[in-house]
Subunit: 296 residues, 2 copies
């Protein structure tokens, strides 16, 4: 059940040289565990994995394992442009004590299905850890089709997918199509916070959540309502998140959640350049979005 | 005049662990210099820059500087996801003796214009070397608009752009629009080998060429015909390249030129995984394309 439920994706606080701040990361992880999230999605896109060196990625995992002590399972992003580098990152994650892997088909030269299949098979074979396919076309520029997912599902340790959620009207049919392509026990979860509650109501078994990395308590409440199939309560809570969702859509969840972490004194650094911090005016909007959630 | 004329982009021969093969790289560079290309575009997309470590990128530059001894100027790709990393790569290129820099707005988190501007300004300020803006939306997923180029042209050392060539019918108007946005001495050159001859006939001052990295002699002939404005001769030679251009469009120039280098015994290795080598059938087509050029 590792790839079921609410997976909270924290930012990885790091200084301008890309050195991970262990104390700030630990504080974020304690919040997530205390709130009762089902897993931590460490070093996801939100966690800046593509902007951190192998050594710092390893240090982030070691920090998380030390801090959580098995209380909440840790899923680690091990994407890289080179297959051998992803293999090394997967082995690092296993050696450091992670429970699962999240693997994105990161690309520079555009990739074909056979290339992505071979890449995933090689990385999966490098450890015994279960693997979730991180389908994130907005950053990797590769879209994992249901046909490719079906091939990947034949690799014994590839057991889950994190798909981008679609608008609510398209979600039930899309979920059924993905389900029908895959073995019954393959865990189909979703990311895209502003669409995730509807994706869970449509049958998704996991929400891979950016906001839960920073505000795990209200995110857990939203997820539990959606998992219970309580549409009214889901919509009520989701409406309180709407100021955040609007900012995520406009400015990207990555930039917004970094600004929110600054405002909450949970991180003193900005995202890595070339990403710029939000303007003063946008930070004010983030503050208002935080205030709107205080009643959840 | 560094960013004028034919710039030949060699592959960077490297073993499966990403270790650069100095002897094979030197052989490619000697061919380029002997054929009379105007510059070498080292560590471009064709040269696998995003798949090589900082240390190996530095070793490739040192090899090229040693090998060419100033005979042909060297332009080095210094793109990276982090600004501080691109700065370090630019300083490495300067320290190793390169003549110019090629900088692509590589992205994972999608970037905005202000972020790309600040990134370029910071990297340009790190050395005195002239910089060419490497506009390659197919791999970086960021398109440098004419408006952004105009801003970048105000940075004193940013003096050139490598734009993707458009189909011949659209090229003259597109070139004029770019020209009118920029200072008169800003060097506007093109990549996309199958469209490049027409781009030069339309006024482009440089061809940033994949095929010239492997087959510099026929590429120099094609470029000189286009530079002379000799449409008939340009079309005659370009037609002999057409089997290559068709393969480039279908399979990507990166994969095709690696296969061609194997066939010519100029490189014994495959591209870095996850990129797969071409199938046997496609390699036969590459061999036929090589044969078609033997008369140039």
């Amino acid at each position: 059940m590792l790839f079921h439920g609410l997976s909270a994706f924290p930012i990885t606080p790091a200084d301008p040289h890309g050195r991970v701040e262990e104390t700030a990361l630990s504080a974020l992880l304690h919040r997530i565990a205390d709130a009762g999230a089902d897993s931590v999605g460490l070093l996801g896109s939100t966690g800046s994995y593509m902007y951190l060196s192998r050594g710092e990625r390893r240090r982030a995992i070691e920090t998380a394992v030390d801090c959580l002590g098995g209380r909440t399972p840790i899923i680690v992003g091990v994407g890289a442009l080179r297959t051998d580098e992803s293999i090394a990152l997967a082995q690092d994650a296993r050696d450091a004590g992670a429970q699962g892997l999240l693997l994105a088909p990161v690309s520079y030269t555009p990739l074909g299905d056979d290339e992505v299949f071979e890449h995933f098979a090689a990385v999966a074979a490098a450890t015994d850890l279960p693997v979730c396919v991180y389908n994130n076309p907005g950053t990797t520029h590769f879209s994992v089709s249901n046909a490719l997912l079906r091939r990947l599902a034949e690799v014994p340790t590839i057991v889950a997918v994190k798909n981008p959620a679609l608008p609510a009207a398209d979600m039930p049919a899309a979920h059924r199509a993905t389900q029908s392509a895959l073995p019954a026990d393959f865990a189909i979860g979703y990311s895209g916070d502003w669409l995730a509650a509807d994706a869970v109501l449509s049958g998704g078994v996991a929400w891979y959540s950016v906001i839960a990395g920073l505000l795990p308590r209200p995110a857990v409440k939203l997820m539990r309502a959606a998992q219970a199939g309580d549409r009214a309560e889901t919509q009520r809570i989701n409406a309180l998140f709407e100021p955040f969702w609007a900012l995520f859509r406009e400015l990207s969840s990555y930039r917004v959640v970094h600004a929110a972490a600054n405002l909450l004194d949970l991180n003193s650094f900005d995202p890595p350049r070339p990403i710029l911090p939000l303007s003063r005016a946008d930070r004010q909007r983030v503050k208002a979005a935080l205030d709107a959630l205080s009643s959840v």
